[in-house]
Assembly symmetry: D2
Homo-oligomer: 349 residues x 4
């Protein structure tokens, strides 16, 4: 860490900084410049926060040199983490496709959708039983019933299931039925929930918040990992900017940045990222070309009648065509789309 | 709501939109333009979501004409809501000042701080017992012990207490001890938590999320109100933008916008809003000049040794001076800073 | 256009809106809702600005239904515009690669670079003779000398040349030497400059401003086209957001959005878009996968000693490898990278 | 400057950085940490750009310790710059009010407006003769005719005049007629224009760009000052963020930040900052409470019929009331609104 003193900082203020740093067990290297002094701190600074120094008299600013996360960092673990969900491996050489409707709308619907997305090439079934909605008057999901339907769809098709968990209270139920726990964008920094999923042994897909930085996303993964659950996937799903031509600004740059900084698998969500189905195929191809390990896509056989997010849902035909083109892109970057999932769910088996 | 059809939408697609709207019980008015058709929908649209139409073939876009919130809207209730916390009234003619340290650090500390901020002119004591921290390795607050210390400080000084509740599990404890429940910025859209505080009878201060729009803030207030708790204050605390000269971009414009759209009291938090104590006095004065009903300020007798957020904490002397200048500003806008709180807590009494 | 009246707007205010609209030669369709009235305007609204109505008493808001640009719109011209620069065609089936150093640093340097990028597969040589720099104390470019060196490099290698024009005064010189005029991000809304390049017959590459919306980019292209120059390329080069892990947020979503809305060729600039050379290959591949017609890349044989933007410049070896991988991506989306440029410049010839 | 090496940087790479720094005439202080080395650079670094080091092998990042601007910095000049425009002093103890219509619409109109705003308490007349418009089909201003009308209005009322200059070509004309040259937000980084106004002896009001940082605004002021013109005012007029409840996000925090970092006068523009006339009075009061030296306001006797920006224009009655309330706010912060301007223009005299 570098502590930058103000232009007119006194000798006493500089000494206070040095004393404080030494009291925290780190070495100090003051450097006296023409107008300003900086104090470099050397040692294990993971638990030393910048704000301790920021608050001191005479300090203008502080800068962190090392990453504030450890378990999520590629420095700590150079090899890719590969997360196994049944026979599906996420983070390895194969590109994985998660697909399904925004919401579980009923038993027959989700089973029908599961068959359809599987046939078109999906490896994992997505579907929301609990839905975070900006209006209290909107459909909030089927809850436990939805989880049961998802589990039934898995047993029939063999597709593992990913679904969102919104509250600590609902967690035991979701853990019972789901193969992957999804933490939604609005809950990226819901630390109570992160700690709770960190104490389960289910893989977690953590979505970047609408205004989450890449570093914050990694810190939130650290919350989960530091509670014992290392099977975390990082999901880019669009950030909030001034641009309104897309629903969010799908920040595909996060893919190479995350792959460089972390060993954790990276998932891209162009459905939420762009918000319009007509942009999803182009941005899905772009995501695989940029190095994403998996895609999560909203697909609905009849988007016009979806109870939520129909605007960003592909229909089955467009989804099937997209999977074909993704195979070609994956090959162009020396990967391949993962092979089809077998008939019997390896989780349920 | 206005449904805008694509340039080349077919007659059949237009009819589908009309049929769908009529099936939802709203009237339709198609308008045929040179290149495009729009369909205006008239009736009670609170429960009709835009996405139903967005997803339909031939639809280019939809636009909502009416506010999607009701209970929080000034249209529904023209008079200001005044929330009484003991003898303190928030949302009325007097400007209220909430002050205290970022974190409760210990029993003696919080009692000493409570005395000091009261003497300087504060009406409500703030202090965090549960702290949302971006690093899992940082100090997370004293928890229930912190709540007990806060309550003791209230009993001694008579100042009502505001403190953050981060999880549904912690809610019963916080309700037991606190006079006002604070929902932090990271939890603005933690709907489970909003519903839970909506079922209590404690006043709530809801902070705007880092990327929350003003409309979303009002929708989140609606979540609380629609569960039965109408005593909600809206707090502007800075949004995330590209500018780094301040920690956040304190969006003071939210004050007149919220006062226009809603009857709920508006609180401004220039400490988090700017992140640097040297900008807090100017922006506190600006907030009162802009019409804020209350301020919430971080104050610490020894900011250099605060366990958190010292950089944005005023010391006692600066805080006392600020209160003096706020009295002048309040008078310049035909208000006044609320009178001092009596010796015995009206809540504890 | 839709004019939304305020909740309590009077009959007289509604009539004023109708009269105003009719005085502008457009038809009106008032729709009376439960709480609000809206007035739909139908006719040629290109020259009718929203602000005329926004300013009127009783008006809450206005919404535009049609695009405010015409010449740049795909509605007006469904077929792709293909811009020919010598034998290179931009906007057709082949993907074009523009490459070169950030700045022209000297005669020998730019000729050497031109040979090197041509050999590695580039079709057009980029290089700045006039440099927009945030500090007045930084290197500002070689000016006319730089233009002469660029022209010499073109004559030797046959590569057409793209270079930035920053001022109307410098325009005649740049037109004399350059094959494509670049308008930089800071000048996207420098309307005097747009009008001036619109009066030349040189192709123009218009970069999106740091906070430019996609619609504003198209409106700025309209400024050029409405002055008579239809050969405009649109360039995505990163927007300003809160994220600091990349220098800008390269908004790749703009590629499919622009291709949908406009017939003009779309160029992607991952060098400025990301700001770090290690992310450029992944995002270049992503850009081609997303449908970009061309890439513009900063390449320098010795990035460590580049006078500007070395951090985002690829070295020759990495650039050559990237071109190989781009050929594979282009094929995966049924395109190909354009064939090499012949030895003699078709422009100079 | 601090050069942060990558985790695995080699000894040779570190030495290269040291050699490069020494070749630029600055001292080096390498500090060897557990995982990383940083090299601190000490000396005059104004002309040493970060990118030189960013581009080198083994370098992870660089951080600047000192401000990159000198002439605009309060460190260089602790006392406030006071700019005299006739008898009006901007940047001194008195708060100055600039007001007038968005556009000069005609001779009689601007003379009538000038009388009206003067009577209501304005000190300087604003009005656009050249208008930057996002559509090429919108009204672009009266040009030289508009300048002549402004000058006539000044001679009749005695009010000095501020008007925008958009191009270098128009500059001689604007200098001939205007007392203050306005550089608009879209041209903040139009360096050719900044250099040109820097060579005149007219005071300049430089508006912050829609995505300009506070540091960039100061660097652009440096462009003007380094060309010899020290009479620069800095104007906050709203930045672009995701929030759409206001037209821009008026970043009032810029006022105390700029006053701290720079000695130059600070002007606030709540008309453009918020975009809606109903928020202008509150935010004008807030701006004065926050320490602004001047306000620039759009005022129009008949906003409904303004040719541009009527939505954000106050009418005369509201403006006159606002001035009254601003006097009270100014007094509450120990300033006062400047006294009325005498009958004869000190510039024209």
């Amino acid at each position: 860490m570098i502590v930058v003193m103000k232009a007119g900082a006194s000798q006493e203020e500089i000494k206070d900084v040095i004393r404080k740093a030494e009291s925290l067990g780190v070495q100090t290297h003051p450097i006296y410049g023409e107008n300003r002094t900086v104090v470099a701190l050397v040692g294990d600074l993971t638990r030393v926060s910048r704000e301790i120094f920021n608050a001191m008299d005479g300090v203008a600013d502080t800068m962190r040199i090392q990453e504030p996360y450890k378990l999520a960092s590629r420095t700590a673990r150079p090899d890719n983490t590969v997360i196994e969900v049944g026979t599906v491996k996420i983070g390895g050489p194969d590109v994985v496709i998660m697909a399904g409707p925004c919401s579980v709308e009923g038993r027959d619907q989700i089973i029908e959708h599961a068959h359809a997305v599987k046939e078109a090439g999906a490896h994992i079934l997505r579907g929301g039983a609990y839905k975070p909605r900006s209006s209290p008057y909107s459909f909030q999901g089927l809850g436990v019933k939805g989880l049961e339907y998802l589990a039934e769809a898995r047993e029939i098709t063999g597709l593992p299931v990913i679904t969102e968990v919104m509250t600590v209270e609902a967690l035991p139920g979701v853990v019972e039925y789901a193969d992957i726990l999804q933490i939604g964008a609005r809950n990226m920094q819901n630390y109570g929930l992160l700690q709770a999923v960190g104490k389960t042994n289910r893989p977690v897909m953590l979505k970047r918040g609408l205004s989450g930085t890449i570093e914050e996303l990694l810190m939130c993964a650290e919350y989960i990992a530091s509670n014992g659950n290392y099977n975390v996937m990082l999901c880019e799903r669009g950030i909030r900017t001034y641009e309104t031509a897309t629903r969010n600004t799908f920040d595909l740059n996060a893919v190479p940045v995350l792959k460089q900084r972390s060993h954790l698998p990276v998932v891209a969500d162009p459905s939420h990222g762009t918000g319009y189905r007509e942009y999803v195929p182009a941005m899905s191809r772009a995501a695989v070309a940029a190095g994403a390990d998996a895609l999560i896509l909203e697909v609905h056989p009849d988007p016009d009648n979806a109870v939520s997010d129909g605007r960003q849902s592909l229909d089955m035909k467009d989804f099937a065509q997209l999977v074909v083109s993704l195979r070609r892109i994956a090959e162009a970057v020396d990967r391949k789309v993962a092979p089809p999932v077998g008939a019997v769910s390896p989780v349920a088996a």
